[in-house]
């Protein structure tokens, strides 16, 4: 079985995001970029399935500008067999990303596609579900446990009510939640090895996907700031203040 993994590059989760004063975007110049944490988890899960002998090949996919190569090399160093780089100068929206993934699915015929449940830049939480719909295959979102056997995936999902388990026939799309696994660290020799692993470069325009970028972002604003409040000296004062506010 082959596993296709979404491997998106985003602004690192430790970066304090600044909105540009003119409201045209957020400052991305000079900020640290990293793999979407959920995608590191997706890749880790795929690698573990390969190590268990459930899968033979793990292919990471990045959709983005030309300078994505170094990022994809990190995924290869982590252990992916090869990478597909779909090049586009513009950030694509989830429907377009899902249509791109569908083209790659048709070409690669994976038994499983693992994506992050959300990318921490746009927080859309859509691409996996959209791909599953377009492909007419099962989806198991927000996965915290995955077992593959007999052509089926048994997936435990983190839902608001607790933990839900569903069974999905393969091929299927799984999206990862944070507690699925802890991604491994990249070791130095692996970085050297990754240099010789193949990256297929495909221009987005050449895939013939219908554009799905239907949303226009017209303005960016900083969120309303909560101002620093007051410090109280002890428990009694805290309770008194909360009672005064009618909160207790």
């Amino acid at each position: 079985m082959k596993i296709l993994v979404g491997y998106k590059r985003v602004v690192d989760y430790n970066v304090r995001i600044q909105v540009k004063p003119d409201g045209t975007g957020v400052v991305t110049e000079g900020v640290k970029l990293s793999a979407n944490p959920f995608d590191d988890i997706a890749l880790e899960e795929a690698l573990r399935l390969r190590e268990k002998g459930v899968a033979e090949e793990v292919v990471i996919v990045g959709i983005g500008p030309a300078d994505l190569t170094a990022h994809l090399r990190n995924g290869l160093a982590m252990g992916a067999n090869r990478a597909i780089h779909v090049t586009t100068a513009e950030a694509v929206q989830p429907l377009t990303a899902a249509r791109v993934f569908l083209k790659l699915v048709e070409k690669e015929q994976p038994g499983l596609v693992i994506l992050g449940k959300q990318a921490i830049d746009d927080d859309a939480n859509q691409t996996g579900q959209m791909l599953a719909a377009l492909w007419d295959r099962p989806q198991a979102t927000f996965a915290s446990k995955v077992e593959i056997a007999d052509g089926k995936a048994t997936v435990t999902r983190e839902v608001d009510a607790g933990l839900e388990t569903i069974e999905a026939d393969l091929p299927a799309v799984i999206t990862t939640d944070l507690r699925l696994n802890e991604p491994r660290f990249i070791k130095l020799p692996d970085i050297m090895k990754a240099k010789s692993k193949p990256i297929d470069v495909i221009e987005l325009g050449s895939l013939g996907v219908e554009g799905g970028d239907h949303l226009k972002t017209t303005h960016y604003a900083a969120p309303p700031k909560r101002s620093k409040g007051v410090m109280v000296k002890d428990a009694a004062e805290l309770v008194a203040t909360l009672k005064q506010k009618g909160l207790l």
């Binding site: 989830p94 449940k117 830049d121 959209m130 915290s144 983190e158 933990l163 239907h214 949303l215 226009k216």
Partner: protein
């Protein structure tokens, strides 16, 4: 004019309050009609609850055995079919809506607006990105159905008390896939208020130190009638189950009172409580970032302070 279809969320035969919040967002778009769609194996009781929500024009039910559990692959084709004639399809931005709505959008070939926090016009919305560190205004294409999920913490529940709202059964002729099957749902049983709707929430973090120590948080929460939440670190460490996580990847909540105890205040946690009324922080580290946003802060050891709070309440 707009016509909005709101997808009802329910579990165990009960309507989830997130549905009434999605109705509030729908009303803000000033549509000519708001219909609520109930997909269930037994829809009557749920539909009757939905019919009481003020502002709802009609409740539509689709009763099928396959709808016994909320499987997106099963529900999405029915919603996509029912969406004909509507300008908007709204679902709450809960794990239910997040799972389902994008699948509907893709079947309709349209974009989705996630986590709507404000409605500026029928096709103009505000939503958070970067864990709420930026708010974008997005415009949807008026030529397409708008599929959106509603950030429940941004919207009050529409009032309950409507009378005589018609309930109509829909007969959708759609083939449903059987490639996804429900196995089980493990639900934490709790008599405490529901985290997502509670007016008071007490949360514990890594500072609480263990599953056993978390009793101190439960006890205090029960004393003041609060729901209990937690940071990711507390969930990861196994102190509490996953459904208690508050934050970017947990629950986004807006209680009147939020008490963060032994929580440092990472941005991913703060994302979940931005809309809280009053935030109280108790932490032994005076430099903890949580104090930057707390309305009331108290520096000290939680194991000393929490019992003192209880004593002060009694006094």
């Amino acid at each position: 004019m707009s016509k909005i279809l709101v997808i009802a969320e329910h579990l165990g035969g009960k309507l989830n309050p997130s549905t009434a919040r999605a109705v509030s967002a729908a009303a803000a778009a000033k549509p000519e009609a708001i219909d609520v769609l109930v997909l269930a194996d037994n829809a009557d009781a749920i539909a009757a609850e939905a019919a009481k929500i003020e502002g709802v024009s009609r409740v539509l039910t689709v009763t099928r055995a396959e709808n016994a559990h909320a499987l997106a692959a099963v529900l999405a084709p029915q919603v996509a079919k029912a969406a004909a004639g509507y300008s908007h399809v709204f679902a709450p931005s809960t794990t239910f809506g997040k799972d389902l709505a994008p699948r509907v959008a893709a079947l309709l070939g349209v974009a989705q607006v996630s986590d709507v926090m404000a409605v500026e016009g029928s096709h103009t919305f505000k939503r958070p990105i970067y864990a709420g560190n930026a708010i974008v205004t997005v415009e949807a294409d008026p030529a397409q159905t708008v599929v959106a999920t509603i950030r429940t913490a941004s919207w009050p529940a529409a009032a309950i008390g409507a009378n005589g709202t018609p309930v109509e059964a829909l007969n959708l002729d759609v083939a449903l896939p059987s490639y996804t099957r429900f196995v089980e749902l493990k639900q934490g049983k709790s008599d405490r208020p529901d985290l997502q709707g509670a007016s008071k929430v007490v949360s514990g973090g890594r500072g609480v130190g263990s599953k056993e120590n978390f009793e101190i948080i439960y006890k205090f929460a029960d004393r003041i009638g609060a729901a209990v939440g937690a940071s990711r670190a507390a969930v990861d460490a196994g102190y509490v189950p996953n459904e208690m996580q508050v934050g970017q990847t947990g629950k986004i909540i807006a209680p009147e009172l939020y008490m963060a105890i032994g929580i440092s205040g990472a941005i991913q946690h703060l994302t979940g409580i931005k809309d809280a009324g009053t935030i109280v922080a108790i932490n032994k580290d005076a430099e903890a970032p949580i104090f930057e946003i707390a309305d009331l802060g108290l520096v000290g050891d939680l194991f000393k302070i929490v019992p003192e709070l209880e004593a002060a309440l009694a006094g």
